[in-house]
Amino acid sequence: MLLKRIAPQLIALAALILLVTLVYPDFLDISFRDGRLVGPVIDVLKRGAPVALLAVGMTLVIATRGIDLSVGTVMAICGAVAAWAIASGWGLAPALLLALAAGAAAGLWNGLLVAVVGIQPFVATLILMTMGRGIAQLITEGRILTFNHPGFAFFGSGTVLGLPVPAWLWLLTGVGVALLMRRSALGMLIEATGINRRASALAGVNATVLLIAVYMASGLCAALAGIVVTADIRGADANNAGLWLELDAILAVVIGGNSLLGGRFSILAALLGALIIQTIDTGILLAGFPSEYNLVIKAALVLVILVLQSPRIAAEWRIWRESQRASREALAERSRT
């Protein structure tokens, strides 16, 4: 059941890895050094963290028929908040909590605009997308706010049981949220709201609160992603942190087979989508083509994957195969008579 749902993504990922291995044969090499695993695949797991984390929240938002364009800037805000708190000596736990609170607040803002004021999600989150980077720069005053705190840096480049901490973060967040959605009734209620908000509200679903909660979840995921990238470079880069990552996150969700029209969703598939995107990115870097080609290669690969995954193509392929078989059988029949 679950395997069937994520099969297209698994196949796409496998095919992609094969392709990358062709241009960079050592792609699958993993070695164990100084208590940690190293290799391109580990890099993918680590570097994919921001997009994967964003994709978790984005999946929920998209399931409600919304979209969150602000996650990239929310990353920058939360990174700036965390770096500011660390740099002014707040200590690790308060700094992290403050960053998460900033993410939740950003989500609350989006959620209120969407669910209460009734602005379309695209526009509501576009507003924060425009403003957010300004807010982040207000905190850092346009500088790269650096800090020296090994405990915080651990979230970017630390290792637990051989795996990088960012990889653990998205794995745990993803699996945790997926379990929460399916073990509680949240998943169904979110899907119902996304498919038909009016009917759900009439059936007693508290669609308003649910929508706000979903945007807050997205804000929290963005906060986590912001913490990862800030910890990674030991500094908050308000100008560039998370720049255009919202597009990658949305792409990941769609490659994961989730419909932008809301409804049925799969977080696991979205995570695979994020891995697919990161594999493309890392593959491009490893292959060593000139930078001018990066975008074209990425666009082409994404298009091919989407086309192959398109449900309509699948249906038509099935019909074509059946008609082929029918005509073959008819032919066999005729030759027999």
Partner: protein
């Protein structure tokens, strides 16, 4: 009275109000210079927003336009540099190319039943990537024809220069209004935006309409690219990053619903001018730091949208009250 035109009226009222407020603070804003600048500086945006409006009316979205504008500039500049073709020939080639590009995206969207957001996102990467591959340098355009167009303007009283590209933008908006509101194609676009399944049952040729809509948007993006190349006299692959979002914001401020099926082409013009007014106001003010600039733009966007919503609610309840 028809309630569907209310957002349009609200937009116009708010724009005039905003202009009046700006004028109180900076009287120079009412000079012909500023008004002409508003048209010239936003000509490329207005043109691309016309295409975007049609796409959004059909219930879709086109994220590729910013990249297509950049690609167009580079394409024109490189071709004029490396060949002896006349600019008009190059324009024709370019428009054919971008229209085909838009049509191809429309084809994928329809044929594969894939969301427009994603297909045009890939198109956005592709067009910018193609621009890089043509040239990563910025390429100046030096052609007598370009000089001629750039110097074609009407000097209004008060030293404002009404340039050709500004006039072209107004003409395109007019054409857009005719297409959207006065043709069967336009009616199909609205129908598609109202609901795909229903539109199909009503006899909309969904495939053809979708492809045409994106082809139109591609064509407008190409035209906007031409205007942009005239405006800047060069082609640059990093130009107009994020213009798609500005265009979408302008369309939305113009009162068009992002969910499709409702809106007016004229509103888009007002939306574009509103975006231009915000920029002008910030420059006139001149005291905002980089970060406050971003925050203020966001806040103003929000204020416009909230005002629009408020005005809409008010007049609707007024209307309902009047009936009872």
């Amino acid at each position: 009275m028809n309630t569907r035109a209310l957002p349009l009226y609200a937009t116009i009222v708010i724009f005039l109000l905003a202009y009046a407020i700006c004028w109180l603070q900076f009287p120079a804003i009412l000079s012909t210079r500023v008004i002409a600048n508003l048209l010239t500086d936003n000509a490329y945006l207005g043109i691309v927003a016309v295409g975007m409006t049609l796409v959004i009316l059909s219930g879709g979205i086109d994220l590729s336009v910013g990249s297509v504008i950049a690609f167009s500039g580079v394409f024109i500049a490189v071709l004029l540099r490396d060949s002896s073709l006349h600019p008009l020939v190059v324009f024709a080639m370019l428009l054919a190319l971008t229209t085909a590009f838009g049509a191809a995206m429309g084809f994928l969207i329809h044929r594969l039943a894939m969301p427009a957001f994603i297909v045009t996102l890939a198109g956005m990467f592709l067009a910018r990537g193609a621009a890089y591959m043509l040239s990563i340098d910025s390429v100046p355009i030096t052609h007598p024809f370009y000089d001629m167009i750039q110097n074609a303007y009407w000097l209004m009283p008060g030293k404002g220069r009404l340039r050709l590209i500004g006039v072209l933008m107004l003409l395109i908006v007019l054409a857009g209004m005719i297409i959207a509101h006065k043709t069967r194609f336009g009616a199909s676009v609205y129908a598609l935006g109202g609901g795909e399944a229903t539109a199909r049952l009503m006899g909309v040729r969904q495939g053809r309409t979708t492809i045409l809509v994106y082809a139109f948007s591609g064509c407008m993006a190409g035209l906007s690219g031409i205007v942009f190349s005239i405006y800047t006299g060069s082609g640059y692959s990093l130009a107009t990053v994020g213009t798609e979002l500005t265009a979408i914001a302008a369309v939305v401020i113009g009162g068009t619903l992002l969910t499709g099926g409702a809106g007016y082409m004229f509103g888009t013009l007002i939306g574009v001018l509103t975006m231009g007014l915000i920029q002008t106001y910030i420059v006139f003010d001149g005291t905002l730091s980089s970060w406050w600039t971003k925050i203020v733009i966001g806040v103003l966007l929000l204020v416009f949208i909230l005002l629009q919503k408020g005005l809409l609610k008010l007049s609707q309840s007024r209307l309902a009250g009047g009936v009872s």
